[in-house]
């Protein structure tokens, strides 16, 4: 058996679009096979077909050489196929164990047998080094642990073929490292892995072979060892892509954003930000690095006004904004690209144009005396759409929900950048985006800096922080444990600091 | 279907269409709607000269009533029967608008809004009942029948007919105490406040029976259904509790599984007779148009049922005596609290 999985000439249409256009994918047993392609290229769709969530219009699927019809996930499970979805499919108020056993529960003495399931989960998590607390509720655990739960779900079902759809988009560097390790482990144990990721480095690190998809068509399958990152990117986008952000040295001006002794509590009432002091100057990008859950979210929300502070002060140009409502802060010159674009960034049921004026609708020229000026709004939105190359079906009137993540993100960036706020808080600006989109967004952020704006960048991706920032602050357990110049540091040093060690640590 | 009666015998004569509009509640309310309708249906069955139909208006506002009456008239209904004082102002207007139609208004008289002066229309007869007299007899019967000397009254909403039943009941108990030496006392005299809260009816009845009340007189529509329900459940267990029914003979309503009934007696109001009689009067050319007619004990318009299996012979005799006192005008049954106060002296 040369191939454990063969998807031959798969075609899948959605209303108005061909998501998969005669794609062929062949995966060898025991290999780690990467799937690469732009946002919307059709990767998730292809995997959903393999997992039985969608039925293809044409094409054949062979598993272990036998032709199969996978009409629902149960069949996929029976064939030993498991999938970790791009958006986790977990029940937030169930425990880890409950989530894992869901659908194949065992009963003992008439009751759900949670205990022996938990035991088995503990065994699995030891064997594959997937640390989880079987009795914790999903809503209480970190994203990284949630992903480990997803993986355990597959292993618990004895999956032999594991599909990972963008598993690293939401992970911290450490977690990514661990995940790569786990994948290699699993491959070594004979499991076959298909991984979708936009990060070429990761493909390089773990994958044996890589199939590139562009606009629903399979372009090529390459041997990863023999193909450079640049080459893969070029195959995927159809042109050359530069990875290094093009930027001149910063030219910082006066201090614009100042944070003094800031303390903030999280949802559970525990102090999440502790005595933070920061000062950012105009014309510079200050990156904040740190492992997820070390108070970044709370810090962002405190600065932008989405969360009350405990004590301390925040200034923009000597105006204290610490207790101002969101609107006042925005008028004082604060902009915010939020980390969760669906929760905060967009009203998904609004049209694109209505989203473009989300913070400025009450101002001239979009409205006067409380009455919207639809013409102005339309022309403004169309202008931004053109300027920022936001792609969508029906232009300004497209329902935002139907847009791809990358274009949704571009819309937010267009909106925030165009307002040209003096201080721009940018959180996870490129999560889940393809290299082309990332390249573009990075360029715009640097442009803003060069215009003399103050930029506070939060990113879980060390690469991004290192590439974009002029200075880097590292957050650990709610404290800023050190600030370094981007040009004078490297991943190793940052990683160490993020783990609580490093040069400026207090003890 | 329930509302049209297709007569099988084809008559050469065109049948007169007789329509009815229901008051609040439905046609099967075991009270004035149902009573009226039964009178009409009985007439149709007996004589075969009318074709009958009822309408339930969309609401209880005057506008709803007027529109329902219009619909009947526009569909060729010549006689319209409306039970309930709520129709008073609507009939006042409709009678003018439809001079060719005849109206039988039960429990009310036409008058203008905000004024209580009777407005005479030659095509309207107004029929009132002396509910207090029925309540009075029920009170006498209850006072004579109680073993615990504790009686209860549950009224629905505080509307004139209900109040009159209640006052009469009080007077009857007083009369019995004075005349026959009974020691009955109305320990709870309550208006529940609705005609539809069945659960509250049961709760109230349970509370009263628990206090030792053994007879409850209800004039409360759906709330009364709750009272009956509680009484029946207790009777099934062998407890001796009773309900006095209202408007119609509620003996059947009170039946329990062994065939007996918890209905001691019922304070009746012969609405069916009124409907029957005035349709007949109209068709025979002796319609008392423009009159206000009060049907009382004397005309057999109110009273207790003929058969009262649950009243002892002695009680029946004594009730007859009380009835005679009223008929002979030896006593005048009060209709209001003020009159009741005088009556006590």
């Amino acid at each position: 058996m040369e191939y454990i999985i063969e998807m031959i000439n798969i075609r899948k249409e959605f209303p108005g679009i061909v998501a998969n256009d005669n794609i062929t994918l062949q995966v060898k047993p025991g290999e780690i096979h990467a799937l690469l392609g732009e946002n919307g290229a059709g990767k998730s769709t292809l995997m959903s077909v393999l997992f039985g969530l969608y039925q293809p219009e044409a094409g054949t699927i062979k598993v272990r050489g036998k032709e199969v019809k996978i009409t629902n996930p149960n069949i996929a499970n029976d064939l030993g196929i498991g999938m970790v979805h791009q958006h986790f499919k977990l029940v937030h108020n169930f425990t880890v164990t409950e989530n894992i056993i869901l659908g194949m529960e065992r009963v003992k003495n008439g009751k759900l047998d949670i205990d022996s399931a938990a035991k088995r989960i503990e065994e699995l998590s030891k064997r594959y080094k997937l640390t989880v607390n079987p009795h914790a509720k999903i809503e209480d655990i970190s994203v990284g642990m949630q992903q480990r739960v997803e993986i355990l779900k597959m292993l618990y079902r004895d999956a032999e073929i594991l599909i990972f759809d963008e598993p690293t988009a939401v992970l911290t560097p450490q977690e990514i490292e661990e995940l790569m390790h786990i994948m290699k482990n699993m491959a070594a144990e004979g499991k076959t892995i298909i991984i979708i990721t936009h990060k070429l480095k990761e493909i390089k690190a773990v994958a044996d072979r890589c199939t590139v998809i562009r606009k629903g068509k399979s372009i090529a399958t390459v041997d990863v060892k023999e193909t450079s990152e640049e080459k893969m990117a070029e195959l995927m986008v159809g042109r050359q892509v530069s990875f290094k952000v093009d930027k001149k040295p910063a030219n910082p001006g006066k201090e614009v954003l100042r944070i003094e002794n800031l303390n903030v509590k999280d949802n559970r009432g525990i102090k999440a930000v502790k005595d933070v002091n920061l000062a950012v100057r105009s014309g510079e990008i200050l990156g904040v690095a740190g492992v997820d859950g070390n108070g970044q979210t709370e810090l962002i929300e405190a600065i932008t006004g989405l969360r009350n502070i405990e004590s301390g002060k925040i200034f923009i140009n000597d105006i204290e904004i610490s207790n101002l409502p969101v609107r006042k802060r925005s008028e004082a010159g604060l902009g915010h690209i939020p980390e969760d674009r669906h929760k905060h960034g967009l009203v998904l049921d609004f049209s694109l144009e209505d989203n473009m004026i989300l913070e400025t609708y009450y101002k001239e020229p979009f409205s006067s005396k409380g009455i919207l000026n639809r013409e102005k709004i339309r022309s403004y939105a169309e202008d931004l759409i053109k300027q920022f190359d936001v792609r969508s079906g029906q232009g300004a009137t497209t329902l935002t929900r139907s847009m791809s993540g990358g274009n949704q993100q571009k819309a937010i960036i267009a909106r925030e950048v165009d307002r040209s706020p003096e201080v721009l808080v940018v959180a996870q600006p490129t999560r889940g985006l393809d290299v082309g989109a990332i390249e573009y967004i990075h360029k715009r952020i640097v442009q803003e800096r060069d215009k003399g704006k103050t930029i506070l960048l939060f990113s879980l991706e060390l690469d991004e922080v290192l590439n974009l920032s002029d200075r880097i602050a590292v957050m650990y357990e709610g404290e800023i444990v050190g600030i370094v110049n981007a040009s004078e540091t490297n991943e190793n040093e940052l990683g160490l600091m993020m783990a609580g060690g490093g040069r400026d640590s207090h003890e | 279907t329930g509302c049209t009666n297709k007569q099988s015998t084809p008559s050469t004569q065109e049948k007169t269409k007789v329509g009815m509009v229901t008051d609040s509640g439905t046609i099967d309310d075991k009270s004035f709607n149902q009573g009226t309708w039964e009178g009409i249906k009985k007439y149709a069955a007996d004589k075969g000269t009318i074709e009958e139909k009822y309408l339930q208006p969309s609401g209880e506002q005057e506008t709803d009533y007027i529109n329902a009456i219009n619909d009947l008239v526009d569909s060729g209904y010549k006689i319209v029967v409306t039970p309930g004082f709520k129709f008073e102002t609507a009939i006042n207007k409709a009678a003018d608008a439809h001079k060719d139609s005849t109206f039988i208004l039960i429990d009310g008289m036409p008058h203008e809004e905000g004024k209580f002066d009777f407005v005479k229309h030659d095509n309207v007869v107004s029929v009132f009942f002396t509910e207090h007299e029925a309540g009075f007899l029920a009170g006498v019967a209850s006072a004579l029948s109680t073993k615990t000397n504790k009686l209860g009254f549950v009224g629905g909403m505080k509307i004139p007919p209900v109040e009159k039943f209640g006052i009469g009941f009080k007077a009857g108990v007083l009369y019995a105490n004075k005349t026959f030496g009974t020691k009955a006392e109305i320990v709870d005299y309550i208006y529940q406040g609705t005609f539809d809260d069945v659960a509250a009816g049961q709760t109230l009845a349970a509370g009263m029976y628990n206090k030792g009340v053994d007879i409850i007189f209800h004039a409360a529509g759906g709330v009364g259904a709750g009272v009956f329900n509680e009484a029946k459940q207790r009777a099934e267990k062998g407890q001796k509790v009773w309900v006095v029914g209202v408007d119609v003979d509620q003996y059947e309503t009170g039946k329990i599984s062994n065939g007996s009934s918890v209905t001691l007696t019922s304070a009746m109001k012969r609405i069916d007779v009124a409907a029957y009689d005035y349709i007949d009067a109209k068709l025979n050319g002796n319609f008392p148009g423009g009159q206000i007619i009060t049907l009382s004990l004397a005309e057999n318009g109110v009273g207790l049922p003929e058969n009262n299996p649950n009243l002892s012979a002695d009680t029946i005799t004594k009730v007859e005596q009380a009835k005679k006192d009223v008929l002979d005008k030896k006593i005048t049954v009060p209709t209001s609290e003020d009159e009741l106060a005088k009556f006590m002296k």
Partner: protein
Amino acid sequence: MWDIITNIVPLALAYTAPLLIIALGGLYSERSGVVNIGLEGLMGIGAFTSALVISKTAGNLGHTAVYVGLLAAALAGGIFSVLHAFASVTMRSDQVVSGTAINILSAALTVYLARSLTGSANIQIVSGFIKRDVPVLSKIPVIGPLFFREAYITTLIVFLIVVFSWFILYYRPFGLRLRACGENPQAADSLGINVLKMRYIGVIISGVLAGLGGGIVITTYSGEFSPLVYSGLGFLALAALIFGKWNPWGVVGASLFFGLAKTVADMSKLFEGLKGMPNIIFNTFPYVVTLVALVLFSKNAAGPKAAGEPYDPGKR
């Protein structure tokens, strides 16, 4: 005082039982992800069916007819709820619209059928259940007089169903799956659980229980079917469901709380000291205290996450 309490509590329990079972029905439906505003209508169907069946069969079956009537009520509620399931699960329509249609349809249809089948919209039953002291249990001090004296057997049945439901929902695979469908149907689907089937089951159970609730109304405190059964009990049950935070014991608490408040208000007219007070105080009492209780105890009641959203496997 104790006298008064032992007087009130059994009556409150009698009133609570149908409210509780209807709310519990709502719980199954909403836990599976389908908002059921049609509880009132489903209750009415049950009430109608039980009254009809009991009145038609009591002659032959005697007291057994009452149980047959209850079963028929549950069955009819279940069958009628398929309409709601079909609209909101299969057709993915707005669940509130479909529930509203159920309410309107039920009220009109039952009265229509009652008139065409029996000639009257009121269907009376000769005898329903009778409050009795539960042997042995009613002798337990304190608890006995409160919960087991003057109790309807249906109240016990309802509480058994609550215990059973709690077990089913939290200790059986079925419950885990049902709840998963209400929280994250995509997750359930990806694990091979048939979301549509689970939702059908949830809605049908809600119909069965709401229908049973209607049957209990008839066989305990009402004694007859009439258009009056549509007096808002289903809406109160919806309120109890939310007040009880979509949790069986919470719903028990909320229903009991409401039943007690209502019974106290009804009984108040019988107590000497209270007779003189303006009746607005008693009549609004159950509703006002419910609001106050919500303010005090029930912040942030969040229902099943996916309740109200039709499940569309193609949509992410």
